[in-house]
């Protein structure tokens, strides 16, 4: 792939996304049974993922200091982030420790494109992944309509930017920890399951009132706070000020850079040691 500039790179990215979207469509439509089973089960999973918090919000007429509508907005936002992650980074791309631990990284290395390009596109599953996004996005939309606030183009743009940034933060966290699998493929193979569990279970909780040290940790080392709480505080006007809106995108840039650095170091190590393990389990479905 000759280096022909950013426009050419963008065009290639879109070609790849189109390719993987087609593969995803073929996958979910390979039989009527697959189609139904996949969507029904993923819908059950998606609904279940938000039901717990929904029920709590209903029971306590809100969550902590957040009223019911605000709590549902937070929940919908968090679920939408998870849905975006599934759609764009499905297929164990977000669970990179599995690919590394199972020795599947070589399949990426023999492709004539940069690793970042392969990882940015291979996980695109707009059809299989949408069943998780739909309940979250629906809840977010419902909550927005019941918030009784003016939906200006600027606010909607900030919502979009924040969603992308939160997704990037979740992904960066996965990659920062998942990179450990370069050094310990066996021990760290499932580390991304644990990290995703942690983020997944805590992302929709409001963190107001937590001790400063704990909250600091949740906005840095374990960036759960940026997956939904911090951006929602800004979007709901709970943290006023124009600058607050850029905290999440800034955190995304910093965490992304750190994750990229760790991953690059891991790749350098991998270049020296290779992988003595191989399992095709979960590779290319």
């Amino acid at each position: 792939m000759a280096d022909r500039g950013p426009l050419s790179t963008l065009a290639r990215l879109f070609r790849l996304w189109r390719l993987y979207a087609r593969l995803d469509l073929y996958f979910v439509t390979r039989s009527f049974r697959t189609f139904v089973v996949w969507y029904v089960t993923d819908m059950i999973f998606g609904v279940s993922a938000i039901s717990g918090m929904l029920l709590l919000a209903e029971r306590f007429a809100g969550i902590g200091v957040w009223n019911k509508e605000q709590g549902l907005f937070l929940l919908g936002y968090a679920a939408t982030v998870t849905g975006l992650l599934e759609i764009f980074f499905g297929f164990n791309v977000a669970f990179i420790s599995r690919r590394l631990g199972r020795g599947q990284f070589d399949h990426t290395l023999i492709q004539p494109q940069p690793v970042w390009m392969a990882l940015l596109t291979e996980g695109f599953t707009p059809f299989a992944g949408s069943a998780t996004l739909v309940p979250g996005a629906a809840l977010l939309a419902w909550a927005i309509l019941h918030l009784h606030r003016t939906l200006s183009p600027g606010w909607l743009a900030m919502l979009l930017v924040s969603l992308v940034a939160s997704t990037a933060i979740f992904l960066a966290f996965q990659y920062a920890l998942g990179s450990l699998a370069f050094w310990a493929p066996r021990a760290a193979e499932e580390i991304n399951s644990s990290s995703a569990n942690l983020m997944g279970q805590l992302k929709a909780f409001p963190l107001d009132g937590l001790r400063v040290l704990l909250m600091g940790g949740l906005l840095t080392v374990l960036p759960v706070g940026f997956v939904a709480w911090a951006p929602c505080r800004y979007l709901l006007g709970l943290t006023p000020g124009f600058r607050a809106g850029f905290a999440t995108p800034l955190a995304a840039l910093l965490l992304g850079a750190l994750a990229a650095l760790l991953f690059a170091k891991g790749m350098s190590h991998y270049g020296r040691t290779g992988s003595q393990r191989y399992s095709s389990f979960g590779h290319r479905r």
Binding site: R33, T34, V37, W38, T41, D42, I44, F45, V47, S48, A49, S51, G52, L55, L56, E58, R59, F60, I63, G64, L177, L180, W183, A184, R186, A187, A188, E190, I191, S194, S195, N197, L198, Q201, L202, F205, P206, L207, D208, G209, L210, R211, L214, L218, L222, V224, S279, S280, F281, G282
Partner: protein
């Protein structure tokens, strides 16, 4: 062997437990925030809820009862399991116990010992609760294993939709077992309805016995009832799907 396999070649396997510890510590803080200024909710006080959460995490593996059977199906190694001179159920159960033993040693015990530092009372609500808990836990494992095998048999009957069925199982267990969210805290009396389901027998029952927030006799009776109902069902489903299992494994 399973325990040794769990440990692996590096201390990094402890990272999983560290993340779990952080998760439970955060969850405890969050419960404190949510319950601030409230009394008992559906018979559950804040101290009971904190103990419930701690014990749910300490015994998470046996309560949620995952075995290696999903992987065995997916990578096809289920076929070779039939060549071993041991029943299939026994193999996976033994393997699971081996793994749980590592988790208990390196995570559960330290967590219970650290509980006072987290401001949580790790002790059972009463002596009777402490005596009945192991019984209930054993029944919970029994129900959990039966459910595991039933779901996998269904996956085979659905012609190998392992991933999908596994996701459904996970979703239902997370929501309905009470391991993460106590059923008592659900609105509209939903908790009382879910109490009758087998998922509640997996986690909610032993945890409520431990924290003294449920009626032990009734809870044990439901667990026993589900054990007696689910194991014959699991055996029957496996019998009718057995040949398909080996074919699928390839």
């Amino acid at each position: 062997m399973a325990a040794a396999g769990q440990i692996g070649e590096s201390p990094l396997f402890l990272m999983d437990y560290l993340l779990r510890f952080l998760r439970v510590a955060l969850l405890l803080s969050i419960w404190r925030l949510l319950f601030a200024g409230r009394g008992a909710v559906s018979g559950m006080t804040l101290p009971a809820l904190l103990t419930y959460t701690l014990i749910a995490e300490a015994f998470a593996e046996p309560l949620l009862c995952r075995t290696e059977i999903v992987w065995a199906f997916w990578d096809g190694s289920i076929a070779t399991r039939f060549l071993r001179p041991m029943g299939l159920f026994a193999q996976f159960a033994a393997d699971a116990f081996g793994r749980w033993s590592v988790g208990f040693a390196v995570f559960s015990l330290p967590l219970l010992l650290c509980a006072p530092l987290l401001g949580v009372n790790p002790l059972p609500a009463s002596l009777m609760a402490g005596l009945l808990f192991p019984v209930s836990l054993a029944l919970s494992i029994s129900v959990g294993l039966a459910m595991e095998f039933i779901f996998m048999a269904l996956a085979v009957l659905f012609e190998g939709e392992i991933y999908a069925i596994s996701r459904v199982r996970q979703a239902l267990v997370v929501l309905l077992s009470g391991a993460f969210l106590p059923l008592a805290l659900m609105p509209w009396g939903l908790g009382k309805i879910f109490d009758w389901l087998p998922f509640a027998a997996m986690a909610s029952a032993p945890l409520r016995i431990y924290t003294g927030t449920g009626r032990p006799a009734w809870l044990l009776a439901t667990q026993l009832g589900w054990t007696l109902l689910l194991w014959p069902l699991a055996s029957w489903l496996w019998r009718i799907s057995r040949e398909r299992m080996v074919s699928y494994g390839g």
